[in-house]
Symmetry: C2
Subunit: 902 residues, 2 copies
């Protein structure tokens, strides 16, 4: 079926080939491969041949048809003539062909299609003499002329349509079917004249000339500036080249027993059977695609529902309709995905022109997947592998009820974290915390957020920023917290002092209500109702199947009982990261922590610690009770000291009073604790080693809570105490011993304590290198992928925004390494540490709990590296569960997943 010049036939000689054979879409284009495949399935496909990507590249390079290609095409045309019984350029039974360019994946509407090649006034004249329909032929010819003008002459499609409309108007006619042969001939002549005038082009009289010149024109268009722009916009890989399908025409516009349309093998809105679609009688497919006429429903049910007074295919052409339904079923069963099928009916005969995987809404895609499993069309594994985990996200966040409220769109930014929320505009982080603590709904509005805004971000409903993109600090943190964020509203200016906003010409006062939609990026004035989407049954079914398949456990990052409840609802198997510092974000506790850090004497410190152990213990008690029986991994206090410290005189004054010192002295101490590179500074285990009493306070609070639950005969959670920022095995050995000593002392006071585990975070290259020695003192290791990325690449997340765009643009990084785990260097460090960790301690449990642990591609990488679990924000759990199953079940289906992406 393939000549050695890259011309691939699909017609009589090919018969029913092996439909299961893998076809190379890179060479044949997706369209060409699908036509060959449908032909092999025995489905009615007009005969034709594919000029593959290599041949097309040669045509593009030479800007003409090489001699051998020309010969191959002629030979292929011979075969087409044989099957159709028609002749190319033959006036008795003229063969008409269509050219359709295709890429390795379906890109509807991106590449040109040229129909009806093979006519000329002379050929039409002859054909009419041989009894063929003149009106039909002249209509076909004027369509060819239009496409020729557009693709060879660079003219506007609309101009030709205007010509047609003007002519119909001058005739007082509306419907195309009412035009007669003479009218069509006249219109064709006007088209030809228009092309002469506007583009100074000769219309090739010879069909072969038409074919060859259109092939060259199509390839020239591929390298045109506008197509180059489009290629960039669609992010097409550099290596992609089009292949071109040359195919015998069939005619939906032939007569009243003809038509063209599209059918989707299930309802795209619900994902359920029966198929749904549109058609038009006496039309070619382009009439639907170009939106020139309003299409008609396919089934009578659909028609009734629509209330339209138009013929359904079911009633108009019942035989063709039945054949179409059967075909849709065959194709869906073959491809095991919902199919989007382009068809044509020529004088009652059904022909298929294309099929590809239908793009369904997320809910519909889930429903279809589950139904198809139940119908035995696909396996659970396939159903799981076919869903892009990212798509689940939009089901998990509130959406705007756009009907309600008298709101006005203020601006459009980037939808940087999904969900919708309303709240008062507050431009100061501390004010935001204060109001939120008082129960008010707050939208934090900042030029851009910084690490110092994190405590406030934990309390507000949503975040709006003037600068930054999808990977800005605000976006990353908001996504982790599951709150909506609109970023990069460039027209917004913040008058910090007054707390006012100026957005374009509008002004928004401090504490005025606004509503943001973090999916669309819209910002509205006023309060709009939102709705929490109902999670469909199919969502739960699919995730349950995913849970059965996956080998890597999925836990949540959760700091409060509320977080923990959300985590359990979304299927968390435990808490993989409870950031104990977040327990200090309430203002009262923050003050205690500030006192601890700034204490002037040991007595002061002891007093504060005694208070802290109490409140801290109560927090843990609630959290452990919620997570009954499941692991809870508590990270000891981690971030840089100065993040906890007071910043304004207002805060300093009461603190100075409590500590019996002056504001000036306190200010000096706070200043002296500021750091040049806080990420590499006085944090994690370093804080524990230098701040007396801190470790004891935290460990006692946790173990007392565990003990209390045991006394109450409640199932305690499986406590894991995690030491952050471990640099060496000696640190870890020291920490383990100190924690065990504290536990022993407590046990002497209280009696037997429930068992617990001790482990650490792996966030430093030195810890990766020494993972074997560290693991000897650890029951578990957990990768902090954010910090590890920062240290391995020497890249500060909060500062990388200044140059990361250049790195991504120039291909120096594949992705933002703080969104997707970096494969070249960070991943190997994780691999090294995992291997060494297990060497040092066979039983060590290994997880990951950074930002990237909730991102599907990163999850696949982490699972492949051999981790036991990942832990992510509760709102990422469904995504993570699905991605984790894919990591196990879809090893070789990268493409399948990508091709399903919207």
């Amino acid at each position: 079926m393939t000549t050695d010049t890259g011309v691939h036939l699909f017609c009589c000689h090919d018969g029913k080939g092996d439909a299961a054979e893998t076809l190379d879409t890179t060479t044949l284009g997706h369209k060409g491969a699908q036509l060959i495949r449908m032909r092999r399935l025995g489905l009615p496909v007009p005969p034709g041949f594919v000029l593959d990507a290599q041949v097309c590249a040669r045509i593009a390079a030479e800007a003409s048809l090489p001699e051998d290609v020309r010969a191959s095409i002629l030979a292929a045309l011979e075969v087409l003539q044989e099957e159709t019984g028609q002749g190319f350029g033959d006036g008795r039974q003229p063969l008409l062909v269509a050219l359709r360019a295709g890429l390795p994946r379906p890109m509807p509407g991106l590449l040109p299609t040229v129909l009806n090649i093979g006519l000329s006034p002379e050929i039409i004249e002859q054909a009419v003499k041989h009894g063929q329909d003149a009106a039909f032929l002249w209509d076909c010819y004027r369509r060819f002329l239009r496409d020729f003008g557009v693709h060879a002459g660079g003219m506007a499609f609309e101009d030709f349509e205007h010509l047609l409309e003007d002519h119909k108007e001058s005739l007082g006619l509306v419907d195309d079917t009412m035009l007669e042969a003479g009218h069509w001939q006249e219109i064709a002549q006007r088209h030809a004249a228009f092309i002469h005038e506007e583009a100074a082009l000769e219309i090739p009289a010879e069909p072969l000339e038409q074919l060859f010149s259109m092939l060259v024109a199509m390839m020239r268009a591929w390298d045109s500036p506008s197509m180059r722009r489009a290629r960039t916009v669609h992010q097409l890989p550099d290596g992609w080249r089009p292949a071109i399908v040359v195919q015998a025409m069939v005619f939906g516009n032939r007569n009243e027993r003809s038509g063209a349309g599209v059918i989707i093998s299930r309802d795209p809105l619900t994902g359920r059977k029966p198929p749904s679609g549109e058609w038009l009688g006496q039309a070619q497919g382009e009439d639907i695609v170009a939106g020139l006429r309003t299409p008609w429903p396919i089934s009578e049910d659909e028609r009734r529902l629509s209330g339209l007074d138009v013929p359904s295919l079911e009633t108009a052409l019942p035989q063709a309709h039945a054949a179409l339904l059967e075909t849709a079923d065959v194709l869906e069963r073959h491809f095991r995905r919902v199919q989007n099928i382009e068809f044509c009916i020529d004088d009652g005969q059904l022909w298929l022109l294309q099929t590809f995987d239908a793009r369904l809404g997320t809910e519909a895609a889930l429903q279809a997947a589950v139904d198809m499993v139940r119908e035995g069309i696909k396996s659970r594994r396939q159903a799981i592998c076919d869903i892009d985990p990212q798509r689940l996200e939009k089901l998990l966040h509130p959406v705007l009820e756009r009907s309600g409220g008298a709101s006005r769109l203020l601006a459009r930014g980037l939808g940087a974290s999904p969900g919708a929320a309303s709240g008062e505009v507050v431009t100061d982080a501390e004010e935001a915390m204060r109001l939120a603590a008082a129960g008010r709904s707050v939208i934090l509005v900042r030029p851009e957020t910084t690490p110092e805004d994190i405590p406030a971000m934990h309390q507000v409903r949503g975040v709006l920023t003037a600068r930054g993109g999808m990977t800005s600090h605000a976006a990353v943190i908001a996504r982790g917290l599951g709150i909506p964020c609109v970023a990069g509203v460039g027209t917004m200016e913040i008058e910090a002092g007054a707390g006012r906003l100026r957005i374009g010409k509008a002004e928004v006062r401090a504490n005025e209500w606004i509503t943001i939609d973090g999916a669309s990026g819209e910002v509205f004035r006023g309060r709009m109702p939102t709705r929490q989407p109902q999670l469909p049954e199919s969502f739960h079914t699919l995730l349950q199947w995913a849970d059965e398949l996956r080998r890597i456990a999925v836990r949540a990052n959760a700091d409060t009982p509320r977080d923990a409840e959300a985590a359990l609802a979304f299927g968390a198997e435990g808490i993989g990261l409870c950031r104990s510092e977040h327990m200090f974000f309430g203002s009262e506790r923050l003050e205690l922590l500030q006192e601890l850090i700034l204490a002037e004497s040991d007595a002061q410190r002891q007093r504060v610690l005694a208070q802290l152990v109490q409140t801290h213990g109560e927090d843990f008690l609630q959290l452990f009770a919620v997570m009954a029986g499941k692991p809870v991994c508590v990270r000891l206090l981690d971030p840089p000291v100065h993040e906890f410290l007071p910043r304004s005189a207002v805060e300093l004054e009461p603190l100075a009073g409590k500590l019996g010192t002056t504001v000036e002295h306190l200010q000096a101490r706070v200043d002296s604790l500021r750091e040049y590179n806080p990420m590499l500074g006085h944090r994690g285990v370093r804080l524990i080693i230098t701040l007396p009493g801190l470790l004891q306070m935290q460990v006692r609070a946790m173990l007392q809570a565990m003990h209390t639950l045991a006394l109450r005969r409640q199932a305690p959670s499986r406590l894991e105490i995690m030491v952050p920022f471990i640099m060496s095995a000696s640190e870890m050995a020291r920490m383990r011993q100190q924690i065990l000593d504290i536990a022993q002392t407590l046990q002497n006071e209280l009696g037997q304590l429930p068992p617990f585990h001790i482990g650490c975070m792996i966030e430093l290259p030195s810890a990766c290198l020494k993972a074997d020695e560290i693991a000897r003192h650890a029951d578990f290791l957990s990768f902090g992928t954010n910090d590890l990325t920062q240290t391995v690449l020497g890249l500060s997340r909060d500062d990388s925004g200044r140059f990361l765009h250049a790195y991504l643009r120039e291909g120096l990084l594949e992705d933002d390494p703080f969104v997707t785990l970096e494969r070249q260097s960070v991943l190997p460090f994780i691999g090294m540490a995992t291997e060494r960790g297990r060497t040092g301690n066979e039983a060590v449990e290994i997880g990951a709990c950074g930002e990237q642990a909730g991102e599907p591609r990163s999850i696949r990488l982490l699972a492949a590296a051999g981790l036991d679990y990942i832990s992510c924000s509760p709102f990422r759990l469904p995504i993570a569960r699905l991605a984790a199953a894919q990591a196990t079940a879809c090893e070789n289906e990268d493409q399948a997943i990508d091709s399903d992406m919207e």
Copy 2:
């Protein structure tokens, strides 16, 4: 010679053993091992035995003498009695013994010595009856009583001396030799009564009891609080335990043909022959050690020089003197180091009591080493291995002429960077730069320095800080720059606004002159003359030998022609790091750079770049000319952008004018360039990739300079262009291509350019991991050990001061990793990158240029890792050359070097 109870005899039975045999000083103590060795060399050593560390540990544990030890001691005493012909406790010929505790290394004065054990009033009475000298025996006894009171009773040595002096005064006598037996007996009785009264202790009457109780008392003292403190102060390893030598007494106080003293086998001030020493007639060694009497010179030459009217040993006891000189020669030839020998002459007979390596001043040590090589006593290799490279430092910096000037000591801080300097007090870094640029001498005075002070530190004469220690920012940077620094003057307060200092009660006005001594840590008011030490011929000789031995090349970090000249003078083989950003520290050029970074348009940027390429090129021209023929490695602009930016409104105003914008706008831009973690921020190659035109400007400036030199037929240096902060191979490939493209364009303009190399710094864990791929695009790799330490350990140098002391104190880090290369993690990364780099490119040259590359232990590690060269500050070059030779020549001599350290 050794009983299985850990008692090691050295006497008749041991004869002349194998003097070359290695003796375990950990078991025997240094003192014990040296006595055994001297005995084996056939030298006159009073017989005795060693209770080794294990036995002593048992005595300490049981707080009494175990039965088997007691038996072994009795047996050993038998042997002593046999050799001496005396009897322990025997009134006819009483054997007296001395106890001397020793540790694995000589620690003079740290541990107790008890002499003259074996007498009692009864024994003396008997002995006098048998014709022995009563005065001598009573003197010995009162000495024993004093030591007993001090070591068993915890009494004060001085109180006993006062008793003696009071008694002599009451008798009207001055000199001990004038006291008669009755006097001495009376003094002894007073001593005994004093011990009764003060310590309520019985004096053991039995010599064996005396011996046993003193042994137990000595071991108890080892674990006393004061000794524990002393052990901490001297940083004695935890595992060290004393061994005790029990040795027959010989008596320098016996008669006028007796004496005791110390001889050093070469003059300790010059390192030259002949030996030099001190003695006292009719005295025991303690009389010299305790400083009770002024000692006399040994040689007649020394006596004449001293002008003292006292007898030299040479004239007083010529035979003993001759024997002593011969002995000193034997010991020096045996140990191959200058020896410090303790001797005693008993009735004309020379006895040796101890020998150890003498501690000489640096110049003397060099002279002695060189002389001993020339005399054939030691090899060049040994001479090199015996010198601690750090000691060379004090020869390289100016020292104070303390005689001159009417200066007054203001304060004492830590001598944090050697050298002395005078200058005006300036407390503001920018003011310091301004004055220094105007040719004024400035001492920068700051609470502590920060990275923002670095430009100023390049210009001033010295630095004085109120806070921070030896590894503070100020100390590290000052040492790198070779300027003096006094750190941690806790009594100093800086009134920043007024520029005044308050040091204790003194006040120093702004711009008043002060003088600092970075070796002693002293701060003086006023200007004091300094002197550049004359480098002795031996210094050059030794370094020349070192250069012949070493395999690793030594280059300098130098940014200016002046630096380069200093580097050549100190033996640099090239420049391993020219930080091109330091070329911008002059205020005029800094402005240009600021304009470049903040340019509002491409036209502005181009104008600035054109100016910069000119000035930058002139800098390079001078530098390359100085370094003719030698490699010069220029690092492209590296540090964070904001370090270069204006900070005050005063600076912003003119810049805003030049750029045609407002101060407010400019301030906002400067603010937006500030970073949270600048070390991991927008720097190095990231700056090059995002700042258009920068790379071209720098590369053109370098290559034009090379071309100009070639035109002048001057030998150009071997240019190496180094890209900083490389993260991945794709960055390096991009940089190489861009540099080659720029060079090609320039070559098209100017004609043939001299060849040059392209390479990069390895400062990131990811770069270590990918060193093989990076090396494929690099001619050389150079480790930036500072940044690598920061990223591998997640440790910011500028912030680590807050917790590093705790890490060092608790043994969680061996050393400050920014002073000495960290071995556990950072070194393995260097090893990995070196190995991978050579795998990727066999010919790649590998060096290191961080702070640690000038530190001897780090140099040994880097050499062992297989590096081709190291590069350090010019003032560290001699140290580095010596350390590099040791890395090659002294593989197994770690101990030898340490034991030579002061």
